[in-house]
Symmetry: C2
Subunit: 311 residues, 2 copies
């Protein structure tokens, strides 16, 4: 799988930003760790999701791509698929719940995708997408349950370890698991002795529960501000997590909002709540990261600027 | 003076961030220009001011430095002097109006400076600083009327043109003029055929009025959200502007707030109102920057996150 990431690096290079790695003395002091932030919030569409979507869309044969691509998502993956399709010059069909925020609808329309609205339930989303795919012949681009998506997400960690050597740990949030799996493959399967640690909201800790019990436990009724992390793992991502992920740290809602604000104030960059989860983990010194050289993938910066969680 | 900037580059290298240069397709499309953002909002203390303060503080002989440094400022320069002094291991005395925002007082105290409060008038600030200097023997670090400060500020443009070639224009805001003078010296006096264009709020357009009339016209009663740009030029900075600056573009308060929000939304980085002024200039296509390859120095990102101008 490591080879797939090297291929993904080449494939997405013409389209994706090589995002900067930033450091912050103040946050280092607060955490007593030495932290390197890989800024995927500054990636195209404002999220790492562009890497996986771009790698997958550009992996398709011309024949596969000819009828376009489709996905269901109300978040960053939808925008990522829409932009990747636009760059390839093919159509994108996005199924979104009618309750999705206006700003997200606008982003997807802005990249030229066609939106089909559905009821805000997973069943409704899946049924509607199946119907759109049947009608259009589009290829589904799953947000995480696909080795091509996972390989694309892994390119962020690969860039990070190329630039910063001797990291002890890399932290990522876990939603469906695509990012942490790509990160593990890019580092551990590449022969690096880096611990890959997942982070989750306490209120959406399906990956933590699954790792603890050794069996896949789906999310039930997640109630967290970290809207990108409400998803459950798939069999594929869980199997990679079982193999490579040493630990999952969970954090409270209050810690998430506090970490989000700390990054805005101290680093002058915008991160969304899901992205603040690993920062919250490192800021709480009880989590055992003090004294370590820590890489954090900052996953995204899409926030409604009229509704900040501390106001 | 170009040599002074080369020296400054070496002098501040161990302390300052080499900030990233970012691009944004969406803002390019909105402006029809090709823009490279030099992100000094991501600099230490969240502003380019650290470059000039650091260069000046580390230019002092041990004897000069022995009694510490002093300045009067309610803004980014105060924090910059405080941090530079801390890094050199000397005392910093900062005179601040008692009305300064809590967040700015805290920042300066956080860097270990001693604050003396005064009434919120320029006379009171100057009188109080003179008294502090007389008592302590500290050396004054002026925010812009000093060739060492100007040389330090010029290092940002130097890094930008080292990284991005063939820029047609560099835009900076103008407050006291330190940044634009350093920028002009780093580029034009370095033999580059780059136009250095200043930008100002219409409500604080002393540099524009001065350049138009050919004589120094001080600021009177500036009423702008861009709090870093309410200062008047000095004879020194005005003379360099007369020599090198081809044009000054002015923008409205509404344009400033709109540009600030656009950068937050599209680039996921935090900029303060003063920093949004050159962005506002490039976003208004009547300003003649369409089709150009434009560098913008993003000057700072210190914003009270509880009081956003669009809320």
């Amino acid at each position: 799988m490591k080879d797939d990431i090297d291929t993904a690096v080449q494939r997405i290079a013409p389209y994706a930003h090589r995002t900067p790695v930033l450091t912050c003395k103040a946050i280092n002091a607060m955490s007593e760790a030495n932290i390197y932030f890989k800024c995927e919030n500054l990636q195209k569409v404002g999220a790492f999701k562009f890497r996986g979507a771009c790698n997958t869309v550009f992996s398709l044969t011309d024949e596969e791509a000819s009828q376009g691509v489709g996905t269901h998502s109300s978040g960053n993956h939808a925008a990522a698929v829409a932009l990747a399709a636009k760059l390839r010059g093919i159509r994108a069909h996005v199924v979104m719940p009618e309750t999705a925020p206006e700003i997200k609808k606008k982003a997807v329309i802005g990249y030229g995708a066609e939106i089909t609205f559905c009821k805000p339930t997973l069943t409704s989303r899946e049924t509607m997408l199946a119907s759109v795919i049947q009608k259009t012949g589009a290829v589904e681009i799953h947000p995480f349950d696909d080795p091509r998506v996972i390989a694309g997400q892994g390119t962020a960690a690969l860039e990070l370890i190329e630039e910063i050597h001797d990291l002890d740990v890399i932290l990522t949030p876990i939603g469906g698991g695509g990012l942490i799996c790509g990160t593990a493959i890019a580092t551990i399967e590449n022969g690096n002795s880096i611990a890959v640690i997942g982070t989750e909201p306490k209120n959406a800790d399906d990956a933590y529960q699954s790792l603890m019990s050794g069996k896949l436990i789906p999310q039930t009724n997640p109630n967290t501000i970290a809207d990108g992390l409400r998803t459950s793992l798939s069999e594929l991502t869980f199997s990679i997590i079982l193999k490579h992920v040493s630990e999952i740290i969970t954090v409270s809602e209050k810690e998430i909002i506090g970490a989000m604000r700390t990054v805005w104030e101290r680093m002058k960059i915008i991160i969304e709540p899901s992205c603040a989860v690993p920062v919250a983990a490192v800021l709480n010194q009880e989590n055992g990261l003090s004294g370590k050289k820590v890489g954090i993938i900052l996953t995204g910066g899409n926030v409604d600027l009229d509704k900040l969680p501390w106001l």
